[in-house]
Symmetry: C2
Subunit: 458 residues, 2 copies
């Protein structure tokens, strides 16, 4: 049942703002409060701010994790009104206005006057969480490094299979499936194709990495649905030119250690066919942080199937004007789950807080300015949708390059990032191919499960 | 019982050389056989060549793992006579001349005409392997990333402890112990001190990272014993100036989750005192790969306590001239366990093989040319011992910088490495501070054990 609470007012001791999450929303909210007379506590599960749009480049050996994930406390080092703490938020009490977080078994309770909830979203397997063990998602640094080990490790295992004379197994190990044809899926499929066709081309003696089979699967009728059909077609043609097998209208119904099963959405018989692949990437679907439902339940607010909170037009929790919810956690006006929604939301929330404290009128509604969206398909080729303009190819790619360099928040990383890109785009190399033993172990677990698996009969 | 076997001769099919290990010894042997009429199989447990002298920079956030560990198959890509395979060598049969390796539960048996055994050494805990769980070693990428998480994570936990008001715990979490005052230990102690005094200086709000306590412990009477007492004193003074507590003549007798216990080697009472520290680094002692004892046993050759094989003067296993043993795996003329011994040994073995195949006389003995050794203590300060010259300070540091840049084998990494060094040496930043969840979990395990631990009574 919604309770109406009074908005915070400027009193002494200083107004306390708690921000949950160090992604785009949380970080931009924090930075926009730089000159505000507030005490900010930023609580995050990781020590770094992840520049998620480039995660696929860590997974495919172009960038190091440090380049896309600068330490949060280094970014806000000069902002003296902010305390950054590492913690997994386990509860929020919107009546008592407290946030409970856990770190290594120790609990911290942090009171707030304003709460900015920007905990983002994780991968969704649409109720089939068991798929996660065979098809890692693409949400954090661990995912990216695990996929790096899985993809590069598959070629290593294929070489061994070829030496043993087992050509079938070698082919199976050089088959890759990417589920989900949104920007991340398109980028991953394109990068795996480039990895095999260019980077690894001459690195093996018994397999031909250029024969690797990359399949991109989605239940939707086109790739990049959010970009419209013209750009979808451009991206699809470009992927197919690179040898990627694009299978649309194909719904994934099962995932196991050695492959996936898909159903044609237009086939009423429900026949499931199999695509063999040891290495699989899950880039389909997101599930908002469970903290959204936690506060929604207390406020009597609605959430959608993806766990996103139906917020008021000013991004606050209904009945709780001191609780802002941002980015991937909200269901409002069909806003897409992109960085710009979080960034603009973070700035908006900060401005609202400042206006309230100054006794100025606040804005009744958040207005999202669509600055356009883009996705890289391969080096030198991207698609971009800016206002009414929709274009693909080299110009779109250059735009992508400039914008991503510009937005990378950890300023010091830019020069090395530029260099790594230079190496990767102009040469054939990728300098970040190191795999840890931990990742080899993860790979090993998957493979052993694979051996125990009984293949389905068609 | 030693068997005498005949040296390989040039016959068709081509002479098969198997190299075990992708470290300095194995890689330089492989590269030196570039133009030889041989088929080389390089078997290694990791996919990359680790430039171990810079591992401490990965552990302390300066470099990324890719910069010090380029992919082995990329390094030897153009050398068409070499097949690189990923595998853990589980057995060597020197009578049958076969190497058995395992990868993800699959076994490969590789026959050889010449074997070059260069599997290096791991950390030795001098019979106390249980110490490893609390004090990670410094031998591979996993160790370095785990230590990165442990060191940076300790400051995160200290901040939380300070917010809780637990000053004692905060101080305990900001105490670091490095065991072993050889080059790696000196470099780690210096880097942790710099991290706290410079990089993290302004990053926290409730703790003062510059108050971190770094203790360097060794049973030896001086730091850097191999460098002579003058350089040892220079290094020690420099460390002490940076605030490192150097405790010499102190033998570690116990390690647990929250600290270590040391005995003064000159104190006959055997009294053990405690040094509190959650984060500990073990940089003392090496144990050669168990593959040395495996072949030694079969050949009736001797091994020393560290598992090193007493080879003939030409680096071959007694009675088995077709088996070369290199680098950290050999006990010969008190050769030190440094990269140059492995590199020169690898080149020597390759030359011997080529001479044998050409029917030319081989060299009866390996002659090591000491090119000098160096260790960095802090930025702008190193010690170097070259021939009879022994010097410290800025000139030694410049020499260190030039030589390490020059020797970094993955050529493409050099520019980004130079940049990361520039950032780290001239600025106060370190761009590679990203920690994975896996490492946070490792840290968590250690910490929970810490809570269960009952402190010893003095």
């Amino acid at each position: 049942m919604p309770q109406t609470t009074t908005p915070p007012t400027s009193t002494s001791p200083r107004h306390r703002v708690v921000i949950i999450g160090s992604g785009f929303g949380g970080l931009f909210a924090a930075r926009s409060l730089k000159r505000a007379d507030v005490d900010i506590t930023l609580i995050a599960r990781t020590t770094s701010h992840l520049f998620q749009p480039l995660l696929y480049q860590v997974a495919t050996g172009i960038l190091s994790e440090g380049e896309i994930a600068p330490a949060t406390r280094e970014i806000v080092r000069k902002q003296r009104n902010i305390t950054t703490i590492l913690g997994d938020v386990t509860d929020i009490d919107i009546a008592a206005r407290t946030v409970t977080s856990d770190s290594l078994g120790r609990t911290a309770v942090t009171p707030y006057d304003t709460l900015i909830l920007a905990a983002g979203a994780g991968q969704s397997y649409f109720g089939n969480d068991q798929f996660a063990r065979y098809a890692p998602g693409m949400k954090d640094i661990d995912d990216a490094l695990e996929l790096r080990g899985l993809i590069l490790g598959s070629f290593e295992q294929a070489e061994l299979a070829a030496i043993r004379g087992d050509k079938q197994e070698a082919a199976r190990l050089m088959s890759f499936v990417v589920v989900g044809a949104g920007p991340t899926g398109v980028e991953m499929a394109g990068q795996i194709a480039e990895l095999s066709k260019r980077t690894l081309k001459s690195d093996f003696r018994h397999i031909d990495p250029t024969m690797a089979q990359v399949t991109l699967v989605d239940a939707a009728p086109q790739v990049l649905p959010a970009f419209g059909d013209r750009l979808g077609e451009i991206a699809q043609r470009r992927l197919e030119k690179m040898g990627v097998d694009v299978q649309l209208g194909a719904k994934v119904v099962d995932v196991d250690a050695t492959g996936i099963e898909v159903q044609d959405v237009n086939d009423p018989s429900g026949y499931a066919r199999r695509i063999e692949a040891v290495a699989k990437v899950w880039a389909a679907g997101v599930q908002a942080s469970p903290l959204g439902p936690t506060v929604a339940r207390q406020a009597g607010a609605e959430t959608d199937r993806a766990g996103r909170v139906k917020v008021d037009p000013d991004l606050t929790l209904p009945g709780y004007p001191e609780v802002f919810v941002l980015g991937d956690m909200i269901a409002l006006d069909d806003l897409p789950g992109v960085a710009q929604v979080a960034i603009q939301g973070g700035k908006f929330a900060a401005r609202q807080v400042k206006h309230r404290l100054a006794g100025k009128p606040t804005d009744p509604a958040f207005h999202y300015v669509d600055k356009g969206s883009m996705a890289t398909v391969s080096r030198f080729s991207a698609v971009a949708s800016v206002g009414r303009l929709r274009f693909g190819g080299f110009v779109a790619w250059m735009l992508w390059l400039v914008i991503h360099l510009f937005y990378l928040i950890g300023f010091k990383s830019r020069i090395t990032t530029l260099l790594h890109w230079f190496i990767s785009f102009l040469g054939r190399g990728r300098s970040e191919r190191a795999i840890t033993e931990q990742q080899v172990f993860a790979r090993e677990a998957i493979e052993r499960l694979g051996e125990a698996h009984q293949p389905h009969l068609p």
